[in-house]
Structure formats: structure tokens, C-alpha cells
Point group: C2
Chain length 159, copies 2
Amino acid sequence: MRMSEGVEWALHTCLNLAWVGPERAVTAARLAAFYDLPPAYLGKQLQALAHAGVVSSSPGPRGGFRLAREPGTITLMDIVTAIEGPEKAFRCSEIRHRGPQSQISQAGDHPCHVSRYMREAELAWRRQLAARTLTDLQHTVTRSSPGIPERTREWFLAQ
Amino acid sequence: MRMSEGVEWALHTCLNLAWVGPERAVTAARLAAFYDLPPAYLGKQLQALAHAGVVSSSPGPRGGFRLAREPGTITLMDIVTAIEGPEKAFRCSEIRHRGPQSQISQAGDHPCHVSRYMREAELAWRRQLAARTLTDLQHTVTRSSPGIPERTREWFLAQ
DNA sequence: GTAGATATACTCGGATAAGACGTGTCCGAGTATCCCTGG
DNA sequence: CCAGGGATACTCGGACACGTCTTATCCGAGTATATCTAC
């Protein structure tokens, strides 16, 4: 089980957009240059974020991306789901209904308990991610290194 | 992010081995026939489980697989880790240390907060899986459908 | 009848191909801007 | 001087190759068993 690398890019990029603020749009190329990432591929991730309503895009000159909502209303879960999709990691394919003994299980018509436990674990993971917003991240970073927000904002606004 | 299909097979198969008990070894072919799965590929998953110390294998006639420990000491986390490997789903590649502004972040030498939040969420998931053992699964199934354990055991012991 | 050696058949185990998905890239559609022209 | 129209250059957006991991399969190494033979 491996999470897409784009999730890490999306999280850091959304945080950068939070520093810049909603007044100014930032191009995918400049967002990519900040971390030396492939510009076109980061653009693809940004498209996914836009489709999910996390960021909004503006075409043409002076165009680019900006956060679509307040940072306090954007959870890490929103960003992860936007990139990875809404599908669950563990997918029950109901193998107990296949094979010679399927008649045994079908009699009860009960749900798959294996699937239930796996779902509960995944739910705990989702809850934790949904409890953290971009604002939480901003506060944590600011407390740890107060200079970062200002310097990052200046870097994106320059030029 | 998608979990390997083999995890579902391994979970159900380990549960079946728990029904059969440690006295008798069951071949990979018979375990696969129970769910109509590819025998050779299930064998590969069983090898991973054996390597992780979850099941033990016996070669030769009357050989096969059986649980290596008491079902109460085998957690769902053990089985998932055996198949998926010990790697974390979210892997921080430290992109903040790449690109033109890397000097800004390096100054603080603080840990990556994005990575920290993602780790915390994944830890919640692992905790939930580690809290459930094969015995818990057995109890849940027995309460839901009391006939299943006996009939499954008989199916594997027959022939 | 019993013990030992041997042949046997059955098991796992790792090495080997095919397919699916994530990764990376490209060029075209669309638009806000800027400039030029006319009033 | 001001307003309108058009050319322009820049942006995103979806369609197109490449690499890597999961999936699936095969045949060989090793062993417990059963048989046969000798005592």
C-alpha cells in the first residue's frame, strides 16, 4: 500500500497558497519551481484539487491557482481525497461468496466481519485527517519557525 | 492508494486456519479452493505470512500451512504488515529541502509538520488494526452465525 | 515379525512473464490583458 | 482625451508515452511417507 507522491506535493503546495493568500493567483510553474518539481505534473495534481473544490483556477495572463475557501475549512482529508480519489484502500471483493462453500455463508446473509474491522481502522485514519485543517498546519509552522510564512509569501509575490 | 488484494485473501485464509486448528496442516491448494482463488498466487501470500512468523509451513506429504501462534496473539496488523510490507503509506521525500528556497527551511532544522500529521493519522489506523486479533474475529463470527466454524472446520478436514 | 534402506509422490519456495496503475510530458482551447485606432 | 475592437501572449485542460509495482504462473529443491527387502 503506497500513497501517491502527489499527495505530499499537494499538501505543501496548498500550504504555500495559504501563505500567499487569496488575493493573488500563483501559476503552477511557480508553485513547482518552489520545490523544483515537474511543472506539468504538479499542474495535473492542481487540476484534481480544483475539481474537488479545494483550489480555484484562473486562465489567461495573471492567472493561476488560489485557495477556493478559507484555510480553516480545508482539512487534510479534503486534499488527500482530491488526489487519491474517494475509493477506500481496502476493498472487500466478497470472496466468501465464491467457491464451493459459498452456500454456507450465504445462508446467514450477514455482513463481512473482516471488511467491517478494516473499515473501522480506515475510518480512524480518516477521522484524524479530517480533524486537521490548513490553519492548524499554519499555526504549527509559525510556532516552530516564525520567519517562514513571511519569507515564503515574499518569494511568491516577488516577480 | 490501494491495498493489495492479497490482504483480503490472507485475512480470510488465516481465519480459516484458526477454525481448523494447529493439529492439522492445510495445503495452499485446498485453502485456495475454498474461495476459488489462484492456488499458486495464494501460495505466494502464504509464503509472506510464513516469513513474518504468522503461519508455519511443512513440506512433503501431509504438509501444508498452520497458524504459527495462538489466534489470540495474531493481530490484523500482523497480517496486513506481512503482506503489504513494513513501509508506511505516506512517505515524506523532504521536498521542502529541494528548490531555491531550501535555505529558508534548512535554517530551522525542524521536522516536517506535514509529515508529522500524516504519520499521526496512519498511527491511528495501525493502532486500530493492532487492537483486533484473530480471536476477536472468531468471536464476532460465532455470535453472528454459530454454524460457520463447525462447518468450515469439517470442510477442511474432509478428504 | 521387525528394522532399515530406498523409491516415490507430494509439498513448499524462489525465479520468471503479463497486466495495471502511477508517473511524466506534450500540445491545443480559452481568456484577461495590452495596444492600436477611431471618435 | 476616451472608448471600443482586435491581436497577443499567457494560462489551464485533457490526451498521449514511459516506468514501476502488483498480479499471475511455472518448474525445481526438499521431505515425510509407504513399500520392499533382508535379517
